[in-house]
């Protein structure tokens, strides 16, 4: 996969352990948010405040209080809460500001782990994930298909007006569409596409075209012409030529472009935020914004939702990672 020589690069004299330490340190810091998501998702707010950094120990504390209405120790109120690590090893101390406190004991129990946070998280975020997958996958597929067709048009022959059309596309590459969102909103309203997923998909397709066509055109132009001529000699139409010649050979670049496009659409939230009204249509970005806007947040379910939101990409990357890294390296070396 890499083109570097098999032997090592770098100084032979000193050992590499310092580099390893440093790199591992950075990677650990990068993984820290994932760790936090996991450990918070099993706590409720109270145990998180007690114990923000470490996972919850499987111990709970039962505290006994005098009932202020009764006044004597005959009837005690009890309160159950989770224990901190210091309390597990060092014992419980009396809270300072409570004159009614009587006693407290710790005991082992697995019920301190709030697994229902995950159930709530799934219920909250799964529809949004489905919407996002739908939007991203459809948008990427259509966008790539149209881009391949378009790039083929530019790369195969220098048709009349192709220069003008190419300039029309390239102009867009230079034009930052920063002010587009405002009239885009009214355009979608006039097309009656507000509050539909179709609006997001269509705008997403349009957004990706220019870059994809640009990269694909350069790639297709570099393919040997005799392959095309051989296919044409065999009576293949242009579509068949694309299917038999272009696609197999450009698989890596198509894969990389698809993944980049997919990622871009996965993270999109601005247009859905202003276009969509109904909650069942919300993709991931908007759903996370709404979750974050809650008045008093229960962090457990929210962290579970965040973690679940990260999982589809993990799955996708586990399958496509080799493709992605190879494509990136190939593209980078060329560019």
């Amino acid at each position: 996969m890499s083109t570097s020589p098999k032997d090592a690069v770098g100084s032979r004299k000193r050992s590499d352990w310092l580099k390893h330490v440093f790199i591992l340190g950075i990677i650990l810091i990068e993984l820290f948010p994932l760790y936090m998501m996991l450990q918070i998702s099993l706590k409720d707010n109270a145990s998180f405040i007690q114990n923000p950094w470490l996972p919850q120990p499987p111990y709970a504390v039962t505290e006994h209080f005098r009932d202020p209405a009764v006044g004597t120790d005959s009837q005690l109120l009890t309160r159950l809460r989770t224990a901190t690590w210091t309390e597990v090893f060092g014992g419980v101390t009396a809270p300072r500001d409570d004159p009614d406190f009587v006693s407290a004991t710790t005991h082992f129990t697995l019920s301190v782990y709030r697994v229902e946070n995950w159930r709530v998280g799934f219920k909250t975020i799964l529809p949004a994930i489905a919407n996002t997958i739908f939007i991203a996958a459809t948008g990427t597929a259509v966008s790539m298909a149209l881009a391949i067709l378009g790039a083929y048009f530019f790369a195969r022959y220098r048709m009349p007006f192709s220069g003008v059309l190419w300039a029309a596309f390239m102009l867009l590459m230079l034009m930052p569409g920063v002010a587009n969102i405002v009239p885009l909103f009214t355009l979608l309203k006039d097309m009656n596409l507000l509050n539909t997923l179709a609006a997001i998909i269509l705008v997403g397709i349009a957004g990706g075209q220019v870059f994809n066509i640009f990269v694909l055109r350069n790639f297709i132009e570099d393919l040997p012409k005799d392959l095309f001529e051989a296919a044409e000699m065999d009576g293949a139409s242009h579509l068949q030529q694309i299917w038999t010649v272009v696609i197999p050979l450009s698989m890596p670049i198509i894969g990389t472009l698809s993944i980049l496009a997919f990622l871009g659409k996965w993270n999109e939230f601005l247009l859905p935020l202003i276009v969509l009204r109904d909650q069942e249509l919300f993709p991931l970005g908007v759903k996370l914004i709404y979750l974050d806007g809650e008045y008093v947040k229960q962090w457990g379910p929210i962290m579970a939702a965040y973690f679940i939101a990260s999982m589809p990409l993990i799955v996708i990357f586990l399958f496509c990672m080799r493709l992605f890294v190879r494509g990136l390296s190939a593209g980078a070396v060329k560019g």
């Binding site: 890499s2 770098g10 004299k13 067709l149 378009g150 048709m159 230079l174 920063v178 969102i181 390296s329």
Partner: protein
Amino acid sequence: MALPLSRQKALREWKLYFFILPSLLFVAVFSYFPAGSAIYHSFFDWQGGDNKELIGFANFKRILGDPVLWSAFGTVSVLIVFNLFKMIPSIMLAVLIHRLKSDRAQYGYRTLLVVPMIVPGLVTLFIWKFFFDPNLGILNNLFDVTGLKTLLVHLDQFFGWNVFFASAPIGWLSQPDLILPALFLWGFPWIGAVGVLIYLAGLQSIGQEVYEAADLDGVGPFQKFIYIELPLILTQVRLTLVLLIIGTLKDYGLQLLLLGEAGGPGGRGMVPGLWMYNRAFIAGEFGYACAVGMVLFVFILSLTYVNNKYVRVEK
């Protein structure tokens, strides 16, 4: 290169135009038309509905005197400087990984890097927002535990910043003076896995002999970086630089999510894009928002032109 063709062949291949038609249609409807419409409407007093009133250059005159917009440009320049600085850790990490002796370790780290990249950008953003939370956030907890908070409070009393108080949690996103530092801190340790992978790929072509020669000449590690590695990744760095500057100028999603629609307390986190969004979708002044967008557009366009003239983008 695309083959040239004779007129007869071109006429026979007329069906090929259908290949470009859908893309053209999409781009015309969803990219060109809104762009044109934005230019058109920037001369109107437009509330977003059907009624608009032509007011000529009044929007632009208002822009000239708009203090929020100009301070937003100031903020975005600071953010560009921050982001330039934040490019460095990726380069450093790529060089470090590249210089490892073991090839297997290189591949392992390369894989490990992708894992944090998996976390969608939005989730990372919200996690950092959670880190910044004054009461529950990890950052404040860290500062308290390591004594940095008391240090900051003392410095505050000495310099008179009026930002850090002993009895109040540090409000990263609620103190106007802390917003820019918070935007700088966000994303620590500022490694972009995509960037690192691209730089690593670019560094692959350096052979062992170059390093051996450098060692014979007694070149130190930092000089090795400047003379050997940097030139090879220079094109990538330049490309990333340009994209970074244009991206920072354009983007306002980060500020919208972290700080809210008004750019945070005191509006210190307001960037031009966010001001445009604010004017359109909160104040309902669509015409003025288009004008702001136009100004931003011209700004970026001129930067891109300058970049293209002096920095050729290779094919």
